[in-house]
């Protein structure tokens, strides 16, 4: 009775295992792009790292996936440390628009960005742009508020999600150690039981 039951459970377990493998292969074979977890800055206006002659009236940032309305913050800082963000950022889908006060002196402006991805995970990043002529607040031309083209953001230092090259090897070595440990420990613990 008990043996029959065991055999039955064994057969069921095998069937479940085979079904699981088939199911896994089926899902892995689905031609789906990997889903995006977390977000990254994809495009911006002004161009990240670019030079502009006329001060923009707003900053537009496009991310790789929709961002939440909560927890976003953008700071635009001139070379002297004054900030120019005016009012809260407006968010629509994957795009954030931050109105700017009239910019001041010429020079490099630093943009600090904090947004929260749709999965609730914050992204903290930044970019810089250079104003070649003084802005409206420093006696320059009126701010430019025409529709603008977003320029893609290039990553100079590679993604922060790239692992150090030794990391996967460390993981592999750890796997080998753990598995041989399981074999050796198991043999020791069950010594005399075969």
């Amino acid at each position: 009775m008990s043996d029959g039951m065991d055999r039955f459970i064994g057969v069921v377990a095998w069937l479940v295992g085979v079904a699981a493998v088939v199911l896994t292969v089926f899902f892995l074979a689905l031609p789906a792009a990997p889903v995006a977890a977390h977000t990254a800055l994809e495009a911006s206006s002004p161009k990240a790292g670019g030079k502009i002659g006329v001060a923009p009236a707003q900053l537009v940032l496009k991310f790789t996936e929709p961002i939440m309305n909560t927890g976003s913050r953008v700071e635009v800082q001139d070379p002297d440390g004054r900030t120019y963000q005016a009012g809260p950022a407006r968010i629509a889908g994957d795009q954030l628009t931050q109105s700017l006060a009239p910019l001041g002196p010429a020079g490099q402006y630093q943009v600090r960005i904090r947004v929260v991805a749709a999965d609730g995970h914050p992204l903290i990043t930044g970019m810089r742009f250079t104003l070649t002529k003084p802005g409206p607040a420093a006696g320059g031309a009126k701010a430019d508020d025409r529709p603008i083209a977003l320029a893609p953001v290039y990553s100079t230092s590679g993604s922060v999600n790239n692992a150090p090259t030794w990391a996967p090897w460390l993981g592999g070595a750890f796997a080998v150690v753990l598995m041989s440990g399981a074999v050796l420990f198991g043999r020791r613990a069950t010594r005399g039981l075969d």
Partner: protein, 382 residues
Amino acid sequence: MASTSSRYQVLQRTIALPPPGRKRAMVLFIVATVLTGVVALAVGMWLGGNLTQSQINGIAIGGTGGLTGWGLPTSKMVMDVASVGVIGMLVACVLLPSREPAAEPGAMVRRLLRTASWLALVWAIANAALLIFSWSDLVGQPVTDLPFANLFTDPIGAFPAAADYTSSTSLAIVIAAGVAVTRTRGGALILLPLAAYNLVPMALQGHANHSTLLRYSLITHVIAISLWVGGLAALFMHVRKQPALLAVAAPRFSTLALFCYVAVGVSGVIAAWDLIGSIPSFWGSRYGVLVLFKIAALIALGIFGWWHRRHTIHRIRANQETHAPRARRAFTQLAAAEIAIMVAAVAIAVALSRSASPDTILLHSNRQAAAPVQYSEPVARG
């Protein structure tokens, strides 16, 4: 022959009356497991790139403080371990024999339920802490600056996921109370699905938002893990002390564990592949490295399971004086090692739930070829 039997008699005596050495081994085991968990969590957070994100490009903004940075993964880890424990204790109640063999299952059920009740309380507290830390992380403010009154007046505006956290905390308290007033296997059987259901709201936070496939995979993964890891912990903590009960519960658990192992592996592979999507990003990303650690843990646990099925389980079931004591000792040792690995795997899972998936790498590398995006609509003036 005579010497063999006398050795087994000695072994039996040590099981009937544990000497102080056993107690010291248990303390050593608990310390080692906690240490393993802490180290795995720290290494996982570090390898996952979760400790350095606020300094990208040398630009820092929106500091939440170190309290949130470490409080969030710690409370998540405590919550995970406690919830797994609750479900494990309830599963063990159900696996016990319904009719009494030599030992009395009633006392064992009550012992399991008492532990479950305390763990459910820990679950609720850790869940409440996780609410506060997640909220702080989301809005980018230190815990001390959070507008707590808004949690009652405008929860969705203050923290969109607040309802998930508060309902999960409340249900954990209900489970704690329910378990505390339950004394029977039947009661445990009623509370078990409730506890398993309470895993769902927290499993659906974070990465699960990204696709339906991921949601189903993660729910399956978390529930199967809880039945398997928790059940083993319950056998290890309590049931092993009553050989007659273990003789029934261990084989039943072994079958359950096999099913759970398959479910964990399949759901894990599907979820990981959904987020990673290619071999280079598996090998080259921080996310992939953490997944590699979890695969290693799963294979190692599979090896342990093989030892159990090959050597210990059938002898524990037969419960013959010649072999059972030795098999029970092997079972305990294997289970102890398994639990330590499982705790480490949970810690890596916590780090993984905070880590960016490698898709962002592909986007970064493909970016060179991307054409400028035309911003077609006129920009509204604010």
